[in-house]
Every structure is written in C-alpha cells, then in structure tokens.
Symmetry: C2
Subunit: 452 residues, 2 copies
C-alpha cells in the first residue's frame, strides 16, 4: 500500500489515528531512505504533541522491530541461532530474561543483577547501551575492565548463556535500525520526551532481542528522565502493555532517583562498587543499592516463573550474594568475555583523588544526582554526544549520604580526576549538588516504590 | 547571539514564547543552510500546533523580509532604485499600492484592478505568483499574452510605473528567500494552514516589495483555502495588524469563494474575460466579478488617501471602466511589457470547445469552484507541482450561473481542451461540481462581505 506522507502528517496533526499499515509505511520508508528526515520530524513533532494511542504505539514498536534482524535463542539444543523472529512460545518457565532501566546516575544494578539472576537459573542475554548526557551506560562501565569485550563472538555468547547463564553485550547495530535512525533525529529535534515514542524505542529492542520476560526499572525523581511520578507510572504501564502485546512477560518497578545510586559514579569506580556488593557488602552506604539489586532480581525471577513469590526469590538472591555464588558468576562471565587475568587489580585508577570538604555544618538534606551526572561529563565519565570517548577512571566517590551530620571541613566526596586542576574545575558545580538543613531529613528507606 | 536549536524547538513545543532574536536566529540560520531542514520542520510543526503570538508573527515576518533584498521605489525624482530597505515615510498620499488575494478559482481581479487603480493616480508595482494546486496565478494568465514578460527590465519597470502607473511582475527570487525555502518545506510537511505562518509569508513579501499600502482580498468559502468565516476573519486581522507593524497602510476585504469568480477559468480565457470587463461588460454573468473589481480597487484608492471615501472612489472607478480609460492602461502596460502587436487576436485558443450538457432539470443550486479548479489541473490550466508547465489555452467557460433554470440537454459549460478525449476525461469530475434543486436558491448578491 502506498500513502502520501504529507497526508499522514496532516492526519496526525489534526488528531487522527493511524492504521498499522500507515505506521509501517512511515517507518519502513524512513528506514529505507525513501522518506526524508524533514517529513519524519514533522510527523514526530505532531505525534509528540497530539499523541499516539495504545494501538498506534504497538504498531510503531512492531514496525521498528521489523526494520532489522531479530534474535532467536535456541536453548533446548544448546545452540544459539540468529534468525527471523518467531513469536516465542512461553513455557511454564520463561527463562530468557532481561531488565531495562530508564537511566540513572550511578546505576550499576545490571552488573550485580545479571550474574545474580543467572545463579537462580535464568538465562540473561543482556543488551545494554552507552552513557549519554548525565546518565551512565553499562557498556562503558564493563569496558573499563581490561580485555572485557561487549561485542562477544557467537561462540562466546553460546558458552556464556549455556554455562554461566549470562552474557552482556552492546546493543547490536542491526537490531531495530529504524529506531536508531529515528532516535538520532529525535535527539536534535526536541521529540525525545514522549511516552509512546520512548515505549516503542525501548520495547522494539527487547522484542527483537528475543527475550521471554522483561522487568523495567522506571526511574523517577529529580535525577531521572521522568521527574514526575504520574508520568513515570504512565511510562511503566505503557512499557508493560506494549511488551505484553509483543508476547513478552513484563512488569515494571518504579524506583526513586534523587541522589546517586550507590556511593560511586564513574566507569571503573562503579565496577569496583559492584564487586563490593557481589562480595556481600551490607554497609549503610551500600544498602540502598544492594536492596534495589535484590528487588529487581527477585522480580525477574518471579516474573519468569522460576519462583513462586518475589519474597522467596529475594531470600534466595540474598543468600547468593552472601555466599559468593553471584560473584563467581560475574568472574566467570568476565573471564569468558576476555577480561585479562588479574584484571581487578588493574582496573584504571585516576591519578588524583581530591577531597571536597564541606563549607557548611548541618545535616545533608539532598545530593542532586543530575548535577553530579552533569559534572561527571566534564571529567569524561559520560559523553555529551554519541561520538565522544569516555574516561574509564574518573568520577566521584561519596563520603556522606543524605541524613548524615557534617561539620565544616568534613569531606563530602572525593573527585577522581586526571589532575587537580580538573578536579577544581568541577568544584563549584559539585558543591552546588549538596544542600544542608539544621534538622535531620527523613531517612531514605527503600528506593523501590511500587510495582506496575 | 547563538542559541541551541533543539532548545528553541523545545521552548515552542512546551508553549513558550520566542524573542525576536530567537526567531531571527532560526530564520537566518535556515536561510544560510546552517540549520537543517529536519530541525526547521520540527519547529514549524510545533509552531503550527502551539501557535505564534502577534509579536512572534511580526518577528517572523521581519526575519523573512530581512533574509533578502528589499525594494525602494523612488517616485519623486522619477527613477526607481533597488536598495536596502528603508522604512517608507507615508505622505498624505501613499500612492505605491498593491492588492493581494489569498487565492481563488477564476480570480482575474488583478488584471482589471491594477490598470484601473492606475487611472485613479495610484502607482501599482504588482508582484504576483504562479498557480499551484486548484487556484490560478496572475503570472500564468498574463504569460498567455504573446510576447508579454512578467520579468520586466528596470527600464520597463521605471517607464511602466511613471507613465502608465502599473507594472506587473513575477515575484522576484531575491525577495524573502527564506520564505521561499520555508514554504517549499511547509508544502510537503502539512504545515501550510497556519494563520501566523501564512501571515508572515504574505506580509514579508509585500514589505520587501516596498509598497506603501496594501489591500488583502481574503477569500473564504468552499473554493478557498479558508472555508471557515471565523478563520478567514482571523487571517484578515492578522494580515492587517502585521502589515501595519511593518509601516504599511493595510485593510482586508472578506470575499466569498464558492463558485468560480467570473465565467471563465483558464489562462488566456481569463485574459479575454478581463478585457471584456475592461471594455465595460455589465452582463449578469460578468456582474459579480465586475463588482468585486470595483470594491477592491475603491478600497485601494481610499486606503492610499487618493479619495475621501470608498463610495466616491468606486464611482470614479466605475466611470473609468465605462469610458475605456482602464482598458487603455491595460493595453499600454501590455505594450510596454513586450506584448506583440495584435496580441489580442493571437491569444492561444484550445482546439476543442466541448459542450457539457445537463442530465438534470431544475435550478443550478451550486457550482463548486474547488472541483472545477482541480479538474482544470488535468487540462493543464494549473500545476500540481512547482515544476509543471501550464497550458495557456485550456479551461472552462460557464454557460450558467447559480440560480439559473436548466433543462436536460442544456449546456452547463464548455470545456476548452486539446482534444475531445481530454475533455471527456474530466467530464465526470466537472459534472459533479454542479448541484441542482427544484426551488430557486437565494440569488448571489455581492461577493464582498465585510471590511476588516
């Protein structure tokens, strides 16, 4: 079927509803280079402002998935094949499981969760992205491990999934190429923050990746993409609904993102912190991160059918952190994906560890994750643009948490930097991320707020 | 000042208001090729859906005017110079006058109005466009005259304006190049029908053309771009307001466009009909067109200060049509702009004049101008795309008007075509433009409805 592109734009502009064929025509025509960028951005902006309903969002998700290759993981006969996508028949146990986070500052959950889920019998072929803007990316973090590849061979993927239960990869270029192309336009045309467009972008990739169940970690708060709870709920519902229409088991946890997640921000720094959690660290500074890892992993295990309740799954996960099983999985995965022997002692370290001391006395009232994420960009922790290179060693190490009492001169955090000048260069920005109060603020309990 | 384009798009998307500097940055950056099409169309769509306020519309108009050359007509020392624009100081008589129509079917008013206004002492340097879609263009009509150029030399312009009082030209390419570039994007991204964007497009060209007063003929009705009276009023007010902010005297007449204007549609056919009006034709079929020409010309004369009232101006215009003065101006203009001797007898004539007869009896209840305009495209009267060539000879000649009583077999109109097959090819479409009723419909009185 052939449509006139201006007529389709006009339809959406005037509040109309697209048929699945119309959306497929737009996406495939754009992916094939037959529909120019300027028409697609006019359509994107009208979709942004007018909205896409549930059916349109599902159609968009499907069209993006069908723009590229889809993966099919054959677990029964112990080999892995990439082929045209076929709807996955869910058995009683949907073991091919994944987790996706909408992005936070200091979010190293995947590094703990993936090996932990593997301990409980799940198969986790996890595709991750790189950091962009103030939020980090799992790919950058793992690439700080000397020798570690986020582009494993088919043999590495096969062995990893079969023997370790986990393989961690960078998002494959040939999955959802239309999404990649659309996203790069949305990024420069102010059409990113739309729930239907975000949903289609995320779900199409999980659909094409061939997993059977998916848990979404939808962040909300001042440090997240979604700063409004109602909007975060809407996104969570949308992700769950479209994933289910794609034949996946899905759920979403809403989790808070105000202060940084954990005590470290930075690529190698976050690998170190993940290892610490995997080694059983339960110190107060580690606690919120550890709890969130357990909550999300338990949800994955329950959702996939491998446990009868999340509470039961959480207890088993907790034990697997304590007894070193999860750590062992991580080390086996790293080994299989090329990490050099003795890599842990050779993780990059920044030349300078510069203490930022408090000029105020009182209780730490808040630590703005977004501000630290943005300051991190200037240390090379993340990237402003897709082409930028990251620094694996730099970042921040928290000395205090919200609620702590500090005196003038106490260390608030350490800046890991290339040199002292670089550290001083972000001092003002970092200092502004802290607020203080005379009264102790309500203590932070769980980051996990509700399940959708 | 440098702005980030995505931030400007976001601002408009979220309901913000642009500063004049922001709009100038967008327009000049786009005109210079520094801002890509895909960002501008995202901005255009957000402006379309969110709106631009009065100040923003004026800023956009100014930015488009300043994207190119502006004309300055020096009348006092009898020469004409093109130079950087300087605000026109309005004397008691603002003699440099123009008229702009938002576009209709069979609209040949300019061909009568321009020489008629010149008879009353106005100087009319009229820039016109070509036909696009179902509406015709003055350039195409005049170019059907053998030898006539719509691209007069400076000498021809000077003499025309000084001695005849009128020169008719195609829109100069170097006036408002940003508008030209923007319009070609709007045309293919469903962002045409926006009052602020239309206003800026029209007024910027009149501003750059250096006239002192401008009358807008805002068409409304099923055959016009604006089919809704309230929308037409809004456009009229917007045109007047922005023109006045540009230092022009301005007014707008709302006029009806349901059935074709006059009895002919087609390039040479409309030149013939204009000559007939200029020769004093007052027959019933010619009457609504003649009245509209008088109403608009009288408004121009009054607005420019050359008459104390429109009624007085209208009487003088009426006399100038009756006594052949206006015809003489037209013939002098044609002569000056290169028309060959004896051109009138050599106007292109289509090989076939094919009668379409009625299959119904009753009163003609309506004749849909838009349907005839679209059918005319298939005869080559107009163009679908800017690159198309037009046929100077083809078109339609009405045999009846709304209200006339017809019997089966009576001729409704004649199709002027290349051959009978071409005529028969549009028969169904043309027939569908007519509706009939048993009762006589209310007779059509004046096309001119109200003055804004």
């Amino acid at each position: 079927v052939d449509f006139l592109v201006p007529e389709l734009i006009r339809k959406k502009r005037d509040g109309g509803r697209h048929s699945p064929e119309e959306i497929a025509f737009l996406v495939s025509g754009f992916a094939a280079g037959q529909i120019p960028d300027y028409q697609i951005t006019a359509w994107l902006m009208s979709s942004f402002l007018v909205g896409l309903d549930n059916q349109e969002t599902t159609s968009l998700t499907r069209a993006m998935k069908e723009s590229g290759r889809s993966l099919e993981w054959k677990l029964n006969n112990s080999h892995l094949r990439t082929a045209g996508f076929k709807a996955t028949a869910l058995g009683p146990e949907a073991r091919l499981a994944d987790k996706h986070s909408t992005g936070g500052v200091g979010d190293k959950v995947s590094l703990v969760l993936a090996p932990l889920a593997a301990c409980l019998g799940l198969k986790v072929p996890m595709m991750s992205g790189r950091g962009l803007g103030h939020t980090g990316g799992t790919v950058d973090k793992l690439e700080s491990i000397p020798g570690f590849t986020m582009y494993p061979s088919e043999a590495q993927m096969r062995t990893g999934l079969r023997e370790v239960g986990v393989v961690m990869m960078a998002q494959a270029e040939d999955l959802c190429p239309a999404d990649r192309k659309l996203y790069s336009l949305r990024d420069v045309t102010a059409t990113v923050e739309s729930i239907p467009l975000i949903t289609a972008s995320i779900v199409s990739k999980k659909w094409a990746a061939g997993v059977e169940s998916i848990v979404y970690d939808v962040k909300y708060g001042s440090g997240a993409f979604m700063s409004n709870l109602e909007q975060a709920r809407k996104l969570a519902r949308s992700l769950k609904r479209v994933s289910e229409e794609a034949g996946l088991r899905a759920s979403a946890l809403l989790t808070r993102m105000e202060e940084p997640l954990g005590a470290f921000i930075g690529n190698a720094l976050e690998v170190r912190e993940s290892l610490s959690i995997l080694r059983g660290d339960e110190s107060p500074l580690a606690r919120p991160l550890r709890d969130l890892c357990l909550d999300l992993t338990a949800e994955m295990v329950f959702l996939s059918g491998a446990a009868g309740s999340t509470a039961g799954a959480r207890e088993t996960c907790d034990a697997a952190l304590r007894d070193g099983q999860a750590l062992e999985r991580f080390l086996r995965m790293a080994n299989l994906q090329g990490a050099e022997d003795g890599w842990e002692s050779r993780l990059p370290v920044a030349p300078v560890r510069w203490a930022l001391t408090s000029t105020e006395s009182g209780h730490v009232a808040s630590i703005q994750a977004r501000a630290l994420g943005l300051a991190g960009l200037r240390l090379g922790v993340g990237r402003r643009q897709a082409e930028d290179k990251v620094d694996p060693a730099t970042g921040f190490e928290m000395a205090v948490a919200v609620g702590d009492r500090v005196k003038t001169g106490d260390t608030l955090l350490w800046i890991h930097a290339r040199d002292e000048a670089q550290a001083r260069g972000v001092e003002t920005e970092v200092r502004a991320a802290f607020t203080f109060s005379s009264e102790a603020p309500a203590p932070l309990t769980r980051l996990f707020l509700e399940r959708i």
